[in-house]
């Protein structure tokens, strides 16, 4: 008879940390962690020591001090009496403005070019190829400067509009002026009752949405296709126009007019904004076009052949069959293109656009001498913007990606 005895309980020996595979990986991780923490501690302590040696402290008190400088493009109230924090906020809004405008236009350009590059028309496809290669392979800073140079050098100065027989004149019935300082367009003025018109406009937008759903449902049930485009167009215009005239034209237009040195009245789109917006959009649009093309090519040929077999025209095949499936491939790289565009907008200072980099990271940094604080703050803000963009795009991505059941 054999007796089973437990193996003697092995006492833990220190050498097991290295030679015993059960413990080794943990040892390596702990050592790596200590090394990482030590490196980080060294960086921080080195910074503190060097700041102390320079006699500088680390605080953000300067943000509440009067800024003392002016900013040309302000989306919110700001003057040289406002604080540095306010200046940074103005800059942040300018950054967001160009980022949002840029992402929107880049997407339009990207989808358009990406689809056309696959066109069967030889000339169209080649032209789109040239566009994509030209924009993708030249640094975006050069494009920004080039767009700005074209906008300032090719357009007349405001003083060319003056005099009996001016060298330049406004276009579109004297309502829009192209100058080397920007484009001036009429701006709306809001009189009594304009709120009602706006409400009617919003209601008609809701109506268009509701009608779209109704038409879709009806098509599913009966197979009838309503002429949605014309009906939507009518819902868009008719109620607003009726309300506008019943209330006695409450919404007017203020036209830009030459006054003193510049045009005043109306809205001014500064050349710095236009150059930055167009350059970033065309540059990023070229990358998005490639993503779109890759997405479309990823859809198997059988899909479009099947659509053709069902009698769908090429237009509808693209819109109803290919693009919805291609989106699943397109969205993830699209997110990183949006992030790139937003980060590239910090090149704005090259054309004097007052974004976050130019206010907080430029003038404020310079006037207060708080390099470390300004840079950390700016990095933090860009990080938050980028995470917010990728967060919201991920939500969208989840909604279009293949649902596995």
């Amino acid at each position: 008879m054999t007796t089973l005895t437990d193996p003697p309980a092995e006492s833990f020996r220190l050498s097991q940390l290295i030679y015993d595979t059960r413990y080794r990986s943990m040892t390596i991780q702990v050592v790596a962690l200590i090394g990482f923490v030590a490196l980080f501690a060294w960086l921080i302590s080195n910074t503190i020591t060097n700041l102390a040696l320079l006699g500088k402290d680390f605080n953000f008190g300067f943000l509440s001090v009067r800024s003392g400088y002016d900013i040309n493009q302000r989306l919110v109230e700001y003057s040289s009496d406002s604080s540095h924090l306010r200046a940074a906020y103005v800059g942040l809004l300018n950054t967001l403005l160009v980022a949002v405008l840029g992402c929107a236009l880049a997407t339009v350009i990207g989808v358009f070019v990406g689809v056309l590059r696959l066109s069967n028309n030889w000339l169209t496809a080649k032209m789109m190829t040239i566009y994509v290669e030209a924009f993708r392979n030249i640094p975006v800073l050069l494009w920004i400067v080039a767009f700005f140079a074209v906008l300032t050098e090719a357009t007349p100065a405001p003083r060319a509009f003056r005099g009996e027989s001016p060298a330049a004149s406004m276009v579109l019935n004297d309502s829009v002026a192209f100058t080397n300082r920007g484009i001036y367009v009429p701006s709306p003025t809001w009189g009594d009752g304009s709120l009602f018109v706006v409400v009617v406009f919003l209601l008609s937008l809701a109506g268009i949405w509701w009608f779209g759903r109704y038409a879709h449902k009806r098509q599913n049930e009966t197979g009838d296709i309503l002429p949605t485009f014309w009906i939507k167009l009518a819902i868009f215009f008719v109620p607003v126009v009726i309300a506008y005239f019943i209330l006695g034209r409450p919404v007017g237009l203020e036209y830009p007019a030459l006054k003193g040195f510049n045009f005043s009245g109306g809205l001014q789109f500064r050349n710095s904004l236009l150059a930055l917006w167009l350059a970033l959009s065309c540059y990023t649009g070229a990358f998005i076009a490639e993503n779109v093309r890759a997405g479309i090519l990823a859809i198997s040929r059988g899909q479009s052949e099947a659509a053709s077999a069902l009698g769908l025209r090429p237009n509808r095949t693209m819109n109803l069959v290919v693009l919805p499936q291609a989106l699943r491939v397109i969205i993830p790289p699209l997110i990183s293109q949006y992030l790139n565009l937003t980060k590239n907008s910090s090149l704005a200072i090259a054309v004097g656009y007052m974004d976050l980099r130019a206010t907080l990271g430029g003038i404020t940094l310079n006037q207060t001498g708080r390099e470390l604080e300004c840079m950390l703050l700016m990095m933090g803000i860009y990080l938050i913007i980028s995470l917010a963009i990728s967060g919201s795009m991920n939500v969208y991505n989840n909604s279009v990606k293949l649902k596995e059941r």
């Binding site: 030590a38 080195n46 003392g68 002016d70 300032t152 004097g352 007052m354 130019a358 310079n366």
Partner: protein, 338 residues
Amino acid sequence: MYKSVLFGVLTVSGLVAGAATAATLDDVKARGSLNCGVTTGVPGFAAPDANGVWEGFDVDVCRAVASAIFGDPTAVNFTPTTGQTRFTALASGEIDMLARNTTWTFSRDVDLKFEFTGVNYYDGQGFMVPKDLGVSSATELDGATICIQTGTTTELNLADYFRANKISYEPVPIETSAEARQQFLAGACDVYTTDASALAAIRATFETPGDFTVLPEIISKEPLGPLVRHGDNGWGDIVRWSLNAMITAEELGVTSANAGELSGGSDNPEINRLLGSEGNLGEQLGLSADWAKNIIMSVGNYGEVFGTNIGENTPIGIARGLNAQWKDGGLIYSPPFR
């Protein structure tokens, strides 16, 4: 163990950081050349010539310091800096001194921890406009678009001036002087504002300087001078007294032509102390006895430097005005060499 590693690292990094701040003079001598920050190009003050050699009024301050240390005015590495990058470059130690028409202000001196070592040009902010604009005073500039270099005192002066006069303007921020020139000539801005000296310098580079005029208003005091970092007073003394040597030399009538002759000894004891034939001023600075003689022989005295770079016989054509010697009714004044 965790803690001891942390403390050990802290100690080591403290030692490393401590060792990094040796005397600037030793660093410069070991390197064999002076790192000097200048503008990215303002004709007459600091700009490379056709051969790429930097020359100008501010450049000569750098060359004077190099001459004092090495006896060689060419032992300088010039680093072009913009209004935005200059202070970071100096604070980080990338350059040993900054001679870049920088205005001496309280906050730069105290808060940014720099030491201004004197004033080599007394300036004020002015406005330049095209003549056909028909403007004769800055108070008529309501609504004008104004090109301005960012990160400068002029930016703050401009905001204050227009606010005080209750008139509006549209600022167009610009990085460099070359960019400002292009924008101004293209008419993208009506007015260009910066220090009056720089306006004169830029106007001289226009094809038709006569079509542009500098308005009479000078809206600020802009004492421009070289600066160094806080914390190394010995180095600050060298830069300060190199400039003072140029000023004193002009006052005493010592020029690049006669300095060699006068250094053999003269009747004026101050000249002898300056040129090193009497006393040990050079030794006190940690330099050779003929440091000031080297400056004057190779760069010239203040008046010569002013005359060859920006004086009335140059295209820039600035009169001495405030920058004349105190004896001639100006503000240029050096403490005595004794």
